[in-house]
């Protein structure tokens, strides 16, 4: 098994674990974390496409690699917006995205 296939399978496993966490975790921040995990798995799979595309004297295909770099930054920007929305959501008393479960911040007199 070559390193790139191994890394690709790792990426596939990461997507699986990320999906599992994304669906099951009730806490929105945990969901976001799991989603980021999924994202990095996808990047890794794209990374082995870059590794396999070695040609023209390079040991990798620079185009997918450059796109992964762009992707990581965009993923961060999206995460930042998600965090801002989650914090805004928590100000209204919701902590989960599940409309049937309402929890309140327990730092005040609500405890």
């Amino acid at each position: 098994m070559t390193p790139s296939v191994l890394a690709g399978l790792t990426g596939a496993a990461l997507v699986g674990f990320g999906l599992y966490g994304l669906i099951l975790h009730p806490h929105p921040l945990r969901k976001l974390l799991a989603f980021n995990l999924m994202g990095s798995g996808v990047f890794l799979i794209f990374g082995i496409v870059a590794r396999r595309g070695a040609a023209a004297g390079f040991r990798f295909d620079p185009v997918p690699q450059a796109m992964v770099i762009t992707g990581i930054v965009v993923a961060f920007a999206a995460s930042a917006i998600a965090v801002a929305l989650i914090l805004r959501l928590s100000e209204s008393g919701h902590v989960t995205l599940d409309p049937e479960v309402w929890t309140r911040p327990s730092d005040g007199d609500t405890k």
Binding site: I23, G53, F60, P62, A66, T70, A75, A77, R88, V95
Partner: protein
């Protein structure tokens, strides 16, 4: 040579192990710490894939800055560390989700094992771009980012600005124009202040070096900018500085500078070199470095503002 395959397997096992920990950890904080460690381990995998540029970005943005974002968010959520226990899903639902996740992962795995051979590649085009319009750039990644796919890179900077606008617009109407809440509410403690004072100047120098060397070696505007952003965040966490008011002129100029200079250079290319985002070959490298310098500035301003969050009303 026989050691490397073993290292690869160990590394893959570690990455998956830490990923599982991140998903299953009980505490939000533990899970975030796991995620940061995971990002750093992933950077090693990227190095093994001959992608040091991606490794630097993953370590700086994917793991570092995202980690700060999540830790800050977790602190601001305060008592909401863990959602209500009654929200925990039942066993059947867990099993179903597990099966679904395993199916998706195995489908992806099967695709990876069946990737076409010979693999498609854009490397020759990228090499031509590195030799042509991006002449003099020894780093093919920088050549692709700044020359071959420059429109993508410019639009990605605009995505960052849109994200900043999005984060700011979540704030209350009354708070508009004021500063985001400080990254730490408590009084700073001495070791943190000392760390910030020691680390920030060194880190800023390394950031500028990574940007400068990115023309020929692994590195570049993204990585340098992210490191510079991290140094600014370290000083903010030590409360040596506080986030600036969002209506400050210099902040807005810094945010827009990167894409603006990029766009103007691209439009100038239409006149001078005959195509949108084309550079005159003799001047390609200085122009690219000039654009990249402003991009570093924009990234260094945008990432901390994304972490700092929407403007908030101060008690003063």
């Amino acid at each position: 040579m026989s050691l490397l395959p073993i290292l690869d397997v160990v590394l893959a096992g570690l990455v998956i192990g830490v990923a599982i920990f991140t998903i299953t950890a009980r505490e939000l904080f533990a899970s975030v710490v796991g995620y940061v460690a995971y990002g750093l381990l992933l950077a090693f995998v990227w190095i093994r894939l001959y992608a040091p540029d991606v490794a630097l970005t993953e370590a700086a943005v994917g793991s570092g800055v995202t980690g700060v974002l999540l830790i800050t968010a977790g602190k601001r959520l305060g008592a909401l560390k863990n959602a209500a226990p009654e929200a925990q899903p039942g066993f059947a639902f867990k099993l179903l989700t597990g099966v679904l996740a395993a199916l998706v992962a195995s489908a992806l795995g099967a695709v990876i094992l069946m990737l076409p051979d010979p693999p498609p590649s854009l490397a020759p085009e990228a090499a031509a771009a590195a030799d042509g319009a991006g002449a003099g750039l020894g780093n093919p990644i920088t050549a692709v980012l700044m020359s071959y796919r420059s429109l993508d890179t410019m639009l990605e900077k605009i995505v960052l600005i849109l994200a900043v606008v999005g984060v700011w617009s979540v704030g209350a109407d009354k708070a508009w124009g004021s500063a985001p809440a400080p990254l730490r509410q408590q009084e700073p403690y001495a070791p943190m202040v000392f760390l910030a004072q020691m680390l920030a100047p060194v880190g800023a120098l390394i950031a500028i070096h990574i940007f400068w060397t990115g023309a020929n070696a692994p590195g570049g505007a993204f990585q340098g900018g992210a490191l510079l952003a991290a140094m600014w965040m370290v000083t903010m966490m030590a409360r040596l500085t506080d986030p600036p008011r969002i209506d400050t002129q210099w902040l807005r100029v810094a945010l827009v500078a990167g894409p603006a200079v990029f766009l103007i250079s691209g439009l100038a290319g239409e006149v001078v070199a005959g195509a949108f985002f084309a550079y005159p070959p003799s001047l390609a490298k200085p122009i690219i470095l000039f654009i990249e310098a402003f991009m570093v500035l924009s990234i260094a301003a945008a990432l901390p503002m994304l972490v700092a969050g929407p403007p908030s009303e101060r008690p003063d």
